[in-house]
């Protein structure tokens, strides 16, 4: 239905960037905007994918993968990242392990769902407040470059880094949670 959206070029760029950053494990829980990226990653044999039932489990899965010597990433929406906050604060940060996520930032431009607004609109400040670096991507052309640089920084500094994709990138829709 939305596959002809002109902004869809960000998806192959994101897949390529994850590969260039040596990400091999992808944990995921969809929203309607990141769903196509999850599908692209699932159908690419370069990635081992892990479907989590709640996003904080991804912090455990990806920390375990890193301890086992492998880089991973979480794909989810901003409410899902909020579900993972205690795990970031009580595992990633104090154990000084890396964590990388590509998150559809909801609640801002184009948002139709009021339930996405309080967490989604403020997610960058919530992350800043507990010292988790994040970068908001507003242009589809920047997706690949920013994912690559953010992932490199997360893994080389062994700290979390979150890429937030605005709806100017992922495409705003009048429905779809």
């Amino acid at each position: 239905m939305t596959s002809s959206n002109r902004t869809d070029r960000w998806i192959p760029d994101a897949v390529e960037a994850l590969k260039q950053a040596d990400v091999e494990v992808v944990a995921h829980l969809p929203d309607s905007k990141i769903g196509p990226l999850i599908e692209a990653v699932e159908s690419d044999s370069a990635f081992e994918t892990v479907q989590v039932a709640r996003e904080e489990a991804a912090i455990g899965v990806l920390t375990g993968a890193w301890v086992g010597g492998t880089r991973g990433a979480l794909l989810c929406q901003s409410s899902g990242l909020a579900n993972a906050i205690n795990a970031i604060g009580s595992l990633t940060l104090p154990a000084r392990t890396p964590f990388f996520a590509v998150v559809t930032r909801r609640g801002n431009l184009g948002e139709f769902n009021v339930a996405q607004v309080p967490v989604g609109y403020n997610i960058d400040r919530i992350l800043d407040d507990f010292g988790v670096r994040n970068d908001t991507v507003t242009e589809a052309d920047d997706v690949g470059h920013h994912i690559r640089l953010a992932a490199e920084s997360a893994f080389s500094t062994a700290t979390p880094y979150i890429i937030l994709l605005e709806q100017t990138v992922t495409g705003s829709k009048l429905e779809g949670l």
């Binding site: 494990v25 989590v52 455990g60 375990g64 154990a95």
Partner: protein
């Protein structure tokens, strides 16, 4: 039940037994008592003690077992499992041969003072099986060892629910959290079998 069978296993003895059976396993231990007991039994390079992230212990084991050939055994608590029962669906998705999950079911939040959990009302084996994870329950140290040997020998992931009495110990992991994580990572990376 007055057939003389002990109703509970001994968590410390079981921790010792599982190390006898799998001396080289990577152990991911739940925050609090599971980690304290493990540290008291044997502080090893391959102990990934958790200090927080309650409800996320089993996923750490899934990630480790997914990317490595090491045997990974998770030492979970009943309270932590109850916080995140949905994670069993992720365990089932991968059903990894090199992953075993042990749940120390002491029916309490022992680490925070022994407040009761809802565990007595929960059939953990039934929950696990209905999520697609093979599971069994044991009530003695000997039965635990047998179940653990079976779990290691069987394909796919098995979960062993081990009824124990709450343990109170002053033992603690002797190194700080970043060192714990790096020590496990280095031990796996240095493994010539990997």
């Amino acid at each position: 039940m007055s057939d003389g069978t002990p109703k509970t296993a001994d968590q410390t003895a079981c921790t010792r037994r599982l190390l006898d059976v799998t001396p080289d396993a990577v152990l991911v231990s739940n925050l609090g008592v599971a980690s304290y007991v493990l540290a008291g039994v044997a502080d090893r390079e391959r102990n990934f003690y958790q200090w927080g992230s309650m409800g996320v212990t089993i996923p750490v084991g899934v990630g480790l077992a997914l990317v490595s050939d090491e045997h990974v055994t998770v030492l979970e608590g009943d309270g932590s499992l109850l916080m995140s029962l949905g994670e069993l669906t992720t365990v089932a998705q991968h059903n990894l041969d090199n992953l075993t999950v042990v749940v120390w079911d002491n029916e309490t939040y022992a680490t925070t003072g022994g407040q009761p959990t809802r565990s007595p009302a929960v059939d953990f084996v039934g929950v696990a099986e209905s999520c697609g994870v093979h599971a069994t329950e044991v009530h003695s140290t000997n039965a635990f060892e047998t179940a653990y040997r079976n779990a290691i020998a069987t394909d796919g992931t098995s979960m062993i629910v081990c009824r124990v009495d709450p343990v109170d110990t002053d033992d603690r992991p002797p190194i700080d959290y970043p060192t714990i994580a790096r020590r496990v990572r280095d031990a796996i990376a240095d493994d010539p079998d990997q």
